[in-house]
Symmetry: none
Subunit: 219 residues, 4 copies
Amino acid sequence: MTDHDLEIDELMDGDELTDKQKKIIVSAIESFAEKGFSATSTSEIAKKAGVAEGTIFRHYKTKKDLLLAIVAPVMAKFVAPFIIKDLQKVLHQDYEHFEDFLTAMLLNRRDFLVKNLSTVKILVQEIPFHPELKELFKEHIALKVYAQFIKLVEHYQAKGQIMDIPAYSVFRMTFSTIFGYLIARYMILPEADWDDEAETERTIQFIMHGLAGPNHSKK
Amino acid sequence: MTDHDLEIDELMDGDELTDKQKKIIVSAIESFAEKGFSATSTSEIAKKAGVAEGTIFRHYKTKKDLLLAIVAPVMAKFVAPFIIKDLQKVLHQDYEHFEDFLTAMLLNRRDFLVKNLSTVKILVQEIPFHPELKELFKEHIALKVYAQFIKLVEHYQAKGQIMDIPAYSVFRMTFSTIFGYLIARYMILPEADWDDEAETERTIQFIMHGLAGPNHSKK
Amino acid sequence: MTDHDLEIDELMDGDELTDKQKKIIVSAIESFAEKGFSATSTSEIAKKAGVAEGTIFRHYKTKKDLLLAIVAPVMAKFVAPFIIKDLQKVLHQDYEHFEDFLTAMLLNRRDFLVKNLSTVKILVQEIPFHPELKELFKEHIALKVYAQFIKLVEHYQAKGQIMDIPAYSVFRMTFSTIFGYLIARYMILPEADWDDEAETERTIQFIMHGLAGPNHSKK
Amino acid sequence: MTDHDLEIDELMDGDELTDKQKKIIVSAIESFAEKGFSATSTSEIAKKAGVAEGTIFRHYKTKKDLLLAIVAPVMAKFVAPFIIKDLQKVLHQDYEHFEDFLTAMLLNRRDFLVKNLSTVKILVQEIPFHPELKELFKEHIALKVYAQFIKLVEHYQAKGQIMDIPAYSVFRMTFSTIFGYLIARYMILPEADWDDEAETERTIQFIMHGLAGPNHSKK
DNA sequence: TATGAATGAGCTTTCATTCAT
DNA sequence: GATGAATGAAAGCTCATTCAT
């Protein structure tokens, strides 16, 4: 988990972080992910980061600001590439079949998840308790990702690749399956012995068949 | 959420709960679900329950004991009926098709979830932070539910109703989809306007087609 | 200063104060008077009172609440007797001359001041910084004492004992002189060698002649 | 209050103050007057002054040094003209009557007070808490002003203009009345609608009659 | 059984001050 | 001379827990 978190610079781009600031972020991510936001004390973060406790509050006015500073960029980064790059490829026929898009998305988001495991964990765990996070989430995921995905689904439905059911059901089932896989793989049983290639393939096939419906020989 | 939580007596059966004890449990469930275990103070629970702070500790030695007293029975109840009743029905041909079993399970577990929304929410949210909960979860879910489900899957695979893929993949995909639905329906967007019957049907169909694989005309 | 402060029970009547609570009040009065509210730490008060710091906050939600709990009753007690008892005496001819009333008031308020030296000191010192105190002060002193005093002045002006100048000027000059005396006597130079009787007499005479104006032989 | 405080250069003469230094002083005066010394943080002063926190400590080794740098010159200036100029006038028959001297003093000190309202406020409020200030005060006021005033009183007593009472009582009563007026006028009710000329006249008359005693037709 | 005063450790945050740049 | 990042002590306050009543 630790080795993946060295992407902080990349994640917090734009801001020039001091050395101590980076250490604070790294330590906070580690502790928040492990014990949760509320159960983590700032003194613990300071100690782990090797800075004085006051230093944390020089950079982040409150503990919650520190949380937001960690979690907000992840949300932005999660959405950004998904939408801009991949979606345009789809609409410009780069992915002729829904399956191709699905595969690309799963792999792409998996890489992101793996790189930002702890941070995503924090995000998922804290969202229920912080209205600000909920708001951010709605803005980014709900409005952007969802809206784009719906268009996409309708595109493939028109092509006859997806059954004629409401697009939001497609959205729900697709994401349930994908995130169900990623959560099981990286959060619940990360230490198990996974055959990633086979599991990915099976997951994609499950979704494809599930969405294709009863009358189809091959996609 | 509140009206569903009056099942406490039923959930905590066996123990004779005093009136105050019940109020404590109800208040704790409410606060834990809303703000999380760590962010909830015992004094807050006491105030909401209308009891003295000391009273909580007369019944539950520590705050964590209170959490366990809330969450443990839910875990037991969640598993119990699933295993004993439903499974035997399956093995005794009560459910000839996997689809029938799936439908029964989804409806059954949905009722349970609705009745115990807050408590399940607490369970899900706190599991990552409490080894004791993880342990309980493994005992109940992992060992009992999983083991039984696997047998079941193999039963239907033998009948040709389910594709020939590892049973644990079937388990993962099935539960992802079902819980994805229930979480979306009751936790993420409970206030949305759901057509429960249709959604349930679609979800079942999605799983069925997903698991049946490419070569099948009708289930 | 310490021996005068044992009047706490009397001052805080109505509330049944626990033993620790009394100790907290006494310690707080001592420290607030000596170093000022802002410069006094709650840990210091706790130590002096021989209680845990948490105990302070069990009884007074904030440090400022503690200040108000100390200062508010003093304000009430200061005003109460002045108005009710003395004033009625005046209006019922108990004090035929303004001088008699003045003497009674000075002695009466001097006793009060001596008994509540520290607390009054706190009140005077903190009023400029706390709007709540200003408000309390306006309510009690401005509205009650001032209003009653004005009536009184007009009463004696009608009798020809006081010069014909605005009553508020009489109020200001009278209180300036009296409190100027009390402040010098008990706050600025308490350790000097005062001939109280003579000083009191001189102060009264100063006010009487000052208010009688140029044309008078003897009061 | 703000427009009067621009006299800093005049007050701090001798020292060449940098631009930043002036801003620090102005900001500190404003905050100290409003919230008190202890309740004002150096960071707040720095922010208001538009300088870095460190800059304050480059010029004033400690926060208390900053207080002294503000308050000490006021004390000196308050005393200086009073003594040197006015007193000599008196002794050289410039003021034949005590009343003339009183009037001159009241007007003169009123101007000073108005010009240095905030700073005087700080001085008055902080004196009880800082032995250094008490010491300065004793040196300047007690020893210089008091000593000179006593001589003056005896001068006018010899002329029969002031009753034969101890000079220190005259001092006390005179200053109580004058400062009582100035405090009421400029600190307690600055926003009220004052007829300054009339009030000044009344105040002088009050003192004159008060000190003249019973047997006098006209001054 | 139930209370609630009392605790002391620990919480988040602020503070005056230092010092390398 | 001016900066502002860094500090660590201490601030006000909250916490889970204990115990005499």
